[in-house]
Symmetry: C2
Subunit: 317 residues, 2 copies
């Protein structure tokens, strides 16, 4: 059942056997052109090609399937307007239970429709964190649904860890691995997978300068909340959590900040050279690698392309 | 050496062993959402993720590597502004020989740059077929370069056949397979691969209504040249050739015509649902399947996504 402390090696292996037939084993891609430009050998783990278009399918599926039948029968709930909401709706559909998603009234139609398309039930609220949390409490009280946090949850973290686990299994001897950081679910999961399955790999993260709270948190040694973040990388606006922060603090070499211009440049490069669609939040990693070429020079580097959910009618280029 | 008549089973197997370490074994993808919408089970062979972003890498590489060393030492040449030009430049770079590409003066910068990025040498000419052919003759006479036709060439056809060969090897028992048709290189190669490796699979093709010369050719029983074609699918403007037409005539069940609106709709669907970039010419197939749902209903269907080269600054949506 639930993972109650930092997931161990067996937790991640059990998680993987729980979810492996429910999510894609995503491909690992390379690009000769991008290798030339970056000066290193990059292995892209394509979680943009994951179910619901993002790694979030892993964590949400693991958390939902870890619930006992009496816990899950009344449904699951979250407040998110992003990929976790779709992932939760996806997991609920597999379990044939309800997913309640609290969304701000001003959420873009494309996100609302994505959650609906997986059968999620949307409850609108005012666009403030307070309103969202209040509405979530009300729904949980009313329905008995189980709240699954987007990242500050060990079952979710163990699920996200399986992306790096697959990458380490397919490409041994990576010198380095880099992921984006928002709330830290993917980064902390990747750190744990590194500890158990590829101990010689160094872990890095990339973060938008306009939402640099994780960078600041590492510097200050405590969680610095994200305050009025402004960035095109809309999946990376959240603050670190009490469960993700310590894992990140203890394992991550460095968080590299990048500008929105650098993010868009890297995103365009991936689209044009690799013919795959990645969202801005997934492009921060390549932006960081191109920015700090000396740091990554000649390394064998894993990049987790976190997601591909972007409104193709509103592109930044 | 050269394949001098319709490629046989062994020709295709030899071709495959010649090129398999020079091109990608592209992934086969599925989409639950698109399966629901189409009513069939589709296996997408992702040649948009191929080297140079198109299946053309297969045929050009095979043709170039089939040349004897004295034939290839003076370089290779073609007149094309599309994916074959990039593919030829790619193959020439592998062989460390020159690639001469005749292009109309008004070719889009994105295509010119793509050929240049693979090291191709571009010779501009007036934007008429006559001017192109005349300039090609001049270059071939002057340099001694070997002309490799984009599709009316058995070595090229055998190369293109390897995409379907890989698909049939990975997904047995396909009921049907569908490809786009322009000059017919991919379609004739796919037909041959079907004959030798998956005889129970029926072969279909999709063509833009604004460039419906292959449809007309099948109807008339002879090659009907493409006259003033107008379509967004800029890779499908050419006419069938003397080597591709008979193979297509003898093997293809039906060519389905689709409008540009249907092409753009299908393209958008692939981008949004599969998170991969396909060009309009690659999207005609899904457009045809969605148009003729009854024909494909409940089938196990292979679609060759032919390419992903599109100017992302000039999208039709």
């Amino acid at each position: 059942m639930f993972i109650s402390c930092v997931p161990g090696k067996n937790d991640i292996l059990e998680t993987y056997s729980r979810i492996r037939d429910k999510v894609h084993k995503t491909p690992v891609m390379t690009s000769a052109a991008i290798n030339r430009m970056s000066g290193c050998k990059i292995y892209f783990k394509c979680e943009n090609l994951q179910k619901v278009g993002a790694f979030k399918a892993r964590g949400a599926t693991n958390a939902a399937f870890s619930l006992k039948s009496d816990q899950r029968e009344k449904g699951i709930a979250t407040h998110s307007s992003g990929n976790h909401a779709q992932a939760l709706a996806y997991a609920a559909a597999l379990l044939e239970i309800k997913a309640y998603v609290i969304m701000p009234r001003n959420a873009p139609a494309v996100k609302v429709n994505a959650v609906k398309s997986y059968g999620g039930q949307i409850i609108f609220c005012d666009p403030t964190l307070e309103a969202r949390e209040k509405e979530l409490s009300r729904i949980v009280d009313k329905t008995g649904a189980y709240f699954i946090h987007p990242y500050n949850d060990y079952d979710v973290i163990a699920g996200q860890a399986t992306a790096a686990y697959e990458l380490f299994s397919e490409v041994p001897d990576l010198d380095m691995i880099i992921t984006p950081v928002g709330g830290g679910g993917l980064l902390s999961g990747t750190s744990l997978a590194r500890n158990y399955f590829s101990i010689h790999t160094k872990v890095f993260a990339a973060e938008p300068r306009g939402a640099g709270d994780a960078y600041l948190s590492l510097q200050e040694g405590r969680i610095m909340p994200s305050e009025k973040p402004v960035t095109i990388a809309d999946g990376l606006l959240t603050s670190l959590g009490t469960r993700t922060f310590p894992i990140i603090r203890d394992n991550v070499e460095k968080i590299i900040l990048v500008s929105d211009e650098e993010i868009v440049e890297a995103m365009k490069l991936i689209w044009e050279r690799m013919k795959i669609i990645v969202e801005p939040s997934a492009s921060v990693t390549l932006a960081a690698v191109l920015k700090e070429k000396i740091l990554f020079s000649k390394s064998k580097l894993g990049i987790i392309l976190s997601g591909g959910n972007v409104d193709i009618n509103k592109l930044p280029f």
